[in-house]
């Protein structure tokens, strides 16, 4: 039995008091504990942003790389350590702007990686510019006359890419979020969890209150079948008075690692190198 305290980090937390990121941190810890994983079995990869600092605030293996590049770094780290639980994390700018291309292509590969996107609909660390999910008309540092680019629905894109697990969480609902994260980690294949995460400093529109008035728990709707792609697409686009949280789309698809490793294989990083001799390879050119 792993205790939650096993995950405690001594690193000084740099988030603003009241930030939604704290909810994500708590939910993630709870999910890892419920999965009975030890800190050393977990490898987190993150980008740059307020959200991307999260691995420092739990005790896990961590590659805190570049802004927007968590996906490829996570893929490389996973291929070297496919027996480990790999979780990537970052903000909405990190994931959908700078990292937009990697996000799309990670879904094509379907490695067994969970991606937590702390979606505060704003750039936090750089002090309040528009992100790809910022609502139309929003005033930000770079959109002083209101944002004119329509917000992306990452969930709809994920369904369009046939991502094998697509969910939305809310940082203000610890229990549900922790369940969603747990399910995402357990799911074999690429899992996206887009998390509504209030930024109390820079996003004065999408507040806790704003989200609370809108979110509902889709997982409680027994009639909803997350395997139906068309329905999932419609559900993914639902955004207004009602915003669904929970598992929007989920299905089984071949996992990237399975095209390479056999079930009994150790992680590559723990296998002996055993390279062929150069002469052996050269002799083929006689």
């Amino acid at each position: 039995m792993v205790l939650a305290s096993a995950y405690n980090s001594t690193d000084d937390n740099a988030w603003c008091p009241g930030c939604g990121n704290f909810g994500v941190l708590r939910a993630l810890k709870q999910a890892l504990v419920s999965l009975n994983l030890e800190p050393w079995q977990v490898l987190m990869v993150s980008g740059i942003g307020q959200a991307a600092k999260i691995p420092h605030y739990l005790k896990v293996n961590c590659f805190n790389g570049l802004h927007g590049r968590s996906m490829p770094a996570a893929f490389g780290a996973k291929m070297a350590n496919h027996k480990m639980t790999v979780i990537a994390a970052g903000g909405d700018g990190d994931a959908y702007a700078e990292g937009g291309n990697h996000f799309v292509h990670a879904m094509r590969r379907n490695p067994d990686i969970t991606y937590l996107v702390h979606d505060n609909q704003i750039y936090g660390l750089t002090k309040g510019q528009a992100s790809p999910t910022t609502g139309l008309g929003t005033l930000t540092g770079t959109t002083p006359f209101g944002s004119v680019d329509i917000p992306e629905s990452p969930l709809a894109v994920a369904v369009a890419m046939d991502c094998s697990f697509v969910a939305r969480g809310f940082a203000g609902d610890l229990e549900h979020l922790s369940k969603i994260i747990g399910a995402a980690v357990k799911h074999r294949g690429f899992s996206l969890v887009d998390i509504l995460q209030p930024c109390v400093t820079f996003n004065k529109v999408n507040t806790y209150q704003w989200y609370k008035e809108r979110v509902y728990n889709l997982d409680e709707d027994a009639a909803y079948d997350p395997k139906d792609r068309t329905k999932a697409f419609t559900k993914a686009l639902e955004w207004g008075d009602r915003i669904p949280t929970g598992i929007i789309y989920k299905h089984e698809r071949p996992v990237f690692e399975d095209s390479i490793f056999k079930p009994a294989d150790k992680s590559l990083s723990r296998q002996p190198l055993n390279p062929p001799a150069p002469l052996e390879l050269l002799r083929k050119y006689a």
């Binding site: 990869v45 420092h56 790389g65 570049l66 390479i260 990083s269 190198l273 050269l282 002799r283 006689a286």
Partner: protein
């Protein structure tokens, strides 16, 4: 008797020039000759005009000649663009029945390739075997047994009938050259035993197999000429040797995947060309900051931007040296010939892991796409040394990735070790790998990372010296130009000018120099490079304080040749 012959095979992309040159090269190699092949190609899939240039010699060759003893022109454009490159006394082979546009000149020999192919019972593409035969006839050397074998191997997967028909076309091609001309060049004989332990391998293959034999376990890349063939080599071998190879969505993904895999604990590489590398520079800086070993192959081609995509240049050295923001240590190696593949790649991975830095292997189109004769007895190798790599660490969550207590290189624990976690961080960080705001730690960490360079300078290898013991002029060169430069030195020494070549494969950091020749007063240094400004010359001058009296530079997309260098020295 000729000791050194150059044959050009020219035609439109898709006509199969490379299969002719391959057959010829392999046949002569097996017969005991040294061969070298370069591909002079346009950026086209079909059409245009490409030329395979094969040099066959009784002594070792690693460079091309600018003119041809024999040119096989497979279409009209090939004649137009290359006829003037045929030496006086040389021959131009063409299919006069098909290519009637011009009045034949002296030395033009019409061989009805297509008709011979048809008669041999094959389709048009067999004209390549007929052309091969015609060349064989001109060169006189008895390599027909070897050639038969090569053709048999080449076409065996297409079935017995294809083999027989091609052999028939080959013989027809030989027979088609009239006796008086046949054997005109009469290549000096060699011993077939010379071919023992010799192989024909191109630069890309040499780098690919070098990496695989160094224990490469992860490769990510995005196609870009002339680096794509390294990726395709690794892809082909990935199953056999348990390598994860993935085509990335772009070069940024490729380098970040490789760095992620390097952090993850395996030997990782990515290769690209200048334009793709430009996109990787932030990732290079990431490797520098996180102290993650990674090997980056840059196969240069002429820039800027898309540039001259299928041509050659050594123009990305400056960019490689200064790629990425901030100061950190890096190593740049540049192979001189395919024989260097294993040792260069072995050293690249060892240096990357021992010093926990990015290591660059800088080649170019001329290197990657050229086929070299490699003597297996002379191939150097490098045993694997993974440096301070740990799979376990005793204690309870007490490991520090950037421990400052043991010099500039900290022990590198691989994630997944029981009761330990490994933090790598792209921000300035503490010994534990957490983000820091401390100026004091910043200073220590920067000194740690950048200070590795001084340690590296002690282990870098001396340049090779070739030529006169007491030279009047020393050509200073690097990477793929070795063959051309040493040939120029030979020519100079023969012509009575005492010359030598100081040739670098270890480019950065430069080692403390022990020249390898006697320095005399009045000794002149000449920088020789395949780029516009003399990028290595600048580095060399700064490092040694020596000023070049001249720089011989080439930047028209063509490789350096001995002739070009000699002309440059004179001009």
């Amino acid at each position: 008797m000729t000791k050194d012959i150059t044959v050009g095979i020219s035609g439109a992309a898709g006509m199969g020039m490379q299969s002719i040159s391959f057959t010829l090269a392999k046949s002569f190699l097996r017969a005991g000759y040294n061969v070298f092949v370069w591909q002079d190609v346009m950026s086209r899939i079909r059409g245009g005009n490409n030329t395979s240039i094969i040099r066959i010699s009784t002594s070792p060759v690693n460079s091309i000649k600018e003119s041809f003893d024999v040119l096989v022109a497979l279409d009209l454009l090939a004649i137009k663009r290359n006829a003037l490159k045929v030496k006086a006394g040389g021959f131009l082979l063409y299919d006069g029945e098909k290519q009637r546009a011009e009045e034949p000149k002296a030395g033009w020999i019409s061989v009805p390739f297509e008709k011979l192919a048809a008669e041999a019972g094959g389709d048009k593409i067999m004209m390549n075997s007929a052309a091969t035969g015609a060349v064989l006839a001109l060169l006189g050397a008895d390599v027909s047994k070897e050639c038969d074998e090569v053709i048999a191997e080449l076409f065996s997967k297409k079935g017995e009938a294809a083999v027989t028909a091609n052999l028939r076309a080959l013989k027809a091609g030989i027979a088609a050259v009239t006796p008086g001309i046949s054997g005109r060049f009469m290549l000096a004989p060699t011993l077939k035993t010379n071919s023992k332990n010799k192989v024909l391998v191109n630069g890309s293959e040499a780098l690919g197999l070098g990496a695989v034999s160094a224990g490469l376990k992860f490769y990510a890349g995005y196609p870009m000429s002339p680096a794509t063939s390294i990726m395709e080599y690794v892809a082909a071998k990935s199953r056999e040797f348990g390598i994860v190879m993935e085509q990335a969505e772009d070069e940024i993904a490729a380098i970040n995947m490789a760095v992620g895999a390097g952090y993850g604990g395996v030997r990782a590489m990515t290769c690209t060309s200048g334009g793709g590398f430009a996109l990787m520079t932030e990732g290079v800086s990431l490797a520098g900051m996180t102290e993650t070993p990674v090997v980056i192959g840059i196969s240069q081609r002429p820039g800027p931007a898309t540039g001259f995509p299928t041509r050659t240049e050594q123009g990305d050295l400056n960019m490689t040296l200064f790629a990425g923001h901030g100061d950190f240590a890096r190593v740049i190696l540049a192979p001189s010939s395919a024989a260097d593949g294993p040792v260069i790649m072995g050293r690249a991975f060892n240096l990357a892991e021992k010093y926990q830095i990015p290591v660059f292997v800088l080649s170019d189109q001329y290197f990657n796409d050229s086929t070299f004769s490699v003597d297996l007895n002379k191939v150097k190798t490098e045993p694997v040394d993974r440096g301070k790599l740990l799979l376990e660490f005793s204690g309870n969550y007490n490991y520090k990735r950037y421990d400052l207590s043991d010099g500039r290189v900290s022990a590198r624990l691989i994630p997944g070790a029981k009761d330990q976690v490994v933090y790598a961080d792209s921000d300035e960080h503490t010994e534990e790998g957490h983000i820091t705001e401390s100026a004091e730690i910043r200073l220590k960490m920067l000194d740690k990372r950048a200070g590795k360079l001084a340690e590296l300078a002690k282990v870098m290898e001396q340049p090779a010296y070739y030529g006169s013991e007491k030279p009047e002029i020393v050509l200073v060169s690097w990477g793929s130009s070795l063959g051309a430069v040493t040939e120029a030195v030979d020519m100079l020494n023969v012509s009575g000018k005492s010359a030598g070549a100081l040739h670098f494969t270890d480019i950065w950091p430069l080692p403390e120099m022990k020249p390898g020749f006697k320095i005399s007063s009045g000794l002149k240094y000449i920088g020789v490079e395949n780029n516009y400004s003399g990028q290595f010359a600048d580095i060399f001058e700064k490092h040694t304080g020596i000023k070049f009296s001249k720089r011989v530079l080439r930047y028209d997309g063509h490789p350096l040749t001995a002739e070009y260098i000699i002309r440059g020295l004179e001009g």
